[in-house]
């Protein structure tokens, strides 16, 4: 079972729709422990993604994802720009020249994207960041792929792990980003970055569920 290019394009559109729908929610989460612009910034970034998508949607999947990355880098403004920008640029490198994606490709993409974010943000699991959702998701995907599950089943496992990882950020003390300045006061709030990470993965799953 493979994921076709038109499904990839649909996933990207779904991400933009999901971010737009949750703009206020993400901003509320970020107002509690950050600079209160995560929803606004992500929405602006994904609007740029949609604006530029028609020009590349006939190209290979790698070019489509690189374009997502560059759009986010240029339009987000906050830390999510370079972080998610790097995430999708890494997707693009794995998917370069491909017209469809296998489970193996998707597994490599999630791992490469995660490593890109960790390298860019110098974060590890347990610091109340995107990594807390993305790392368990990449691991769950790989574990499901190893059992020859379908892409749909692999994404179901990944999103379940991301959701758990996101919820686990609530009691954490922030070690990165603006929330780090709050120290103990960051405890008890869900991380906005881990939340948007789950939204992105859930958007990919939604398209496969049809």
């Amino acid at each position: 079972m493979k994921v076709a290019k038109d499904q990839i394009v649909a996933m990207i559109k779904e991400m933009a729709a999901s971010v737009a729908e949750n703009k206020k929610y993400l901003t509320e989460l970020d107002s509690a422990i950050g600079d209160g612009d995560h929803g606004i910034n992500m929405d602006r970034g994904f609007r740029k993604v949609l604006e530029r998508l028609p020009a590349v949607e006939d190209k290979d999947v790698g070019s489509i994802f690189k374009n997502v990355g560059m759009s986010l880098i240029s339009a987000v403004g906050g830390a999510a720009g370079p972080l998610y920008g790097t995430y999708f640029m890494e997707f693009g490198k794995v998917a370069a020249g491909k017209e469809e994606l296998t489970n193996g490709d998707l597994e490599k993409m999630l791992a490469a994207g995660l490593n890109g974010i960790k390298r860019r943000g110098k974060a590890v699991v347990g610091e109340k960041t995107m990594v807390d959702a993305l790392e368990p998701a990449a691991e769950a995907f790989a574990a499901a792929a190893a059992k020859d599950k379908t892409p749909l089943a692999c994404f179901q496992a990944a999103v379940a792990a991301a959701k758990k990882g996101k919820e686990a950020t609530i009691p954490m003390l922030a070690k990165k980003g603006r929330a780090h300045y709050l120290g103990e006061r960051s405890i008890g709030h869900q991380d906005p970055g881990a939340t948007s990470s789950e939204l992105i993965l859930a958007s990919m799953l939604k398209v496969l569920e049809g």
Binding site: V76, G77, G78, A79
Partner: protein
């Protein structure tokens, strides 16, 4: 030298203060997003670096979080030759800029200017 802040006003203000210490040192201020919000933009940072690039290299002074990551991205977007000429500083943005202009005006090389600027984090204000 390029001063990168989340706010263009902050970057320009810091530039003004630092420039007093050496009017001949090429300084650029960059901050905010292309549409005028608080934030940073790697493409704008890249342009600012190219604007002051010279044979002695460029020191980047940054404020917080995304300014650091976007400055790193901007450097990665430069050509290989230019990349080697650009150094990101861990210095406090205002004090570091003042010290760096002084050191640069004295003709010291990039590595020495960077070190001196970073020392500024240990400067005692209340003597």
């Amino acid at each position: 030298m390029v001063i990168v802040s989340h706010s263009l006003k902050a970057a320009e203000g810091i530039k003004e203060i630092a420039q007093q210490m050496g009017s001949d040192v090429p300084l650029a201020a960059v901050g905010g997003t292309a549409d005028g919000r608080i934030g940073t933009d790697p493409l704008m940072i890249k342009k600012a670096i190219e604007g002051v690039m010279g044979p002695d290299g460029v020191l980047l002074l940054v404020d917080l979080g995304s300014a650091v990551m976007n400055a790193q991205l901007a450097v990665e977007m430069l050509g290989d030759e230019d990349q080697e000429q650009v150094v990101l500083s861990n210095a406090p943005i205002l004090e570091g800029a003042v010290v760096a202009v002084v050191e640069s005006a004295m003709g010291h090389d990039l590595e020495r200017v960077k070190r001196a600027a970073e020392e500024a984090s240990h400067m005692e204000k209340l003597l």
